[in-house]
Symmetry: C2
Subunit: 188 residues, 2 copies
């Protein structure tokens, strides 16, 4: 099993449902990288079409993987080296195809209830039984645009809170989903 | 079952193992509140002896629960109202004792492997079978001071990554642990 993540900054929606490109958040990159490293994910793509945002993210990664940050906290570099900055989801898929020989099975995530979602336990089984590669998409802002959800091979069921509340941060939702898909302490 | 959390800023250790008071991080408060709201936690105490930090956190909570923030994103208020700012762990325990009639069973968390840790599945069972109250402690910076670990009734097992990596953010570790203790999609 080979699993990749993508943290999508475009196309995502704002709270009015409009398509936007969201800004990269420093802590998102750190948290996604640390979670990816924890659960042995092959890489986490950081997707944004905005060139200055990609440069900013690149500077951040170099600081922690090669620069002063690496000297101070080498364990941060071991996490942040899992990040790959790309301009589009297509670029991420092409990179995986190049690396794995075949394009990835793509699973989107969404906080919204909908019919036909892929349960986390079934997804866990699929990861265990097949080689992949798999690519799990996480949307920033108010979530992935419908066009991305339509493109995905499946949409994972949401992490359900009590009484319909579904406003986890993308950092925490991704951590929980990774744990459900790959965590080692859970009952099989 | 009645479960409380505490995000501890003192006493915690820095990367050299020295006791420090860490600074409150805006995103920690948002993420802990959103996770607490998701999993129906009674409250999350934010513990710091630094008066100006408590005032800052109080301003933040009022912004989202009563002020402009509440008008813009009411769902943030519904999360952040779960936060209670206190000056010490003793104050949190006393507050729970006042509210519940009895002091809480206290579980500490730690990223470090040690013998005798309480497994997440046993902890989940305890929460299901007993009334509590329970208080789960999360340390900021490099984790809870030994004195806090010594005071706890049990130390929860760490969230284990591959090959010994154990550097999840406290936000993500707390989300995963809450999901393991209380999440509704897991096999029982």
């Amino acid at each position: 099993m080979r699993l990749y993540l993508a943290l999508i900054h475009f196309p995502v929606v704002n709270r009015r449902g409009e398509i936007i490109a969201s800004a990269i958040t420093n802590l998102d990159l750190h948290d996604m990288a640390r979670s990816a490293r924890t659960f042995n994910v092959a890489a986490c793509y950081v997707v944004t079409p905005l060139r200055d945002q990609r440069e900013l993210a690149g500077d951040l990664i170099r600081h922690w993987c090669e620069g002063e940050g690496f000297k101070l906290h080498p364990e941060r570099g071991s996490a942040l080296k899992h990040l790959r900055i790309v301009e589009s989801l297509d670029a991420a898929r092409e990179d995986i195809r190049r690396e794995s020989g075949v394009p990835p099975v793509m699973w989107a995530t969404s906080a919204r209830e909908r019919t036909g979602g892929l349960s986390h336990s079934l997804a866990r089984l699929a990861l265990k039984e097949t080689d992949g590669p798999f690519l799990v998409l996480f949307g920033t802002a108010w979530g992935l645009a419908e066009s991305v959800l339509d493109e995905a091979d499946a949409i994972l069921e949401p992490v359900r809170g009590v009484d319909g509340y579904n406003h986890l941060s993308v950092r925490c939702a991704a951590a929980i989903i990774l744990d459900r898909l790959l965590g080692v302490d859970q009952a099989e």
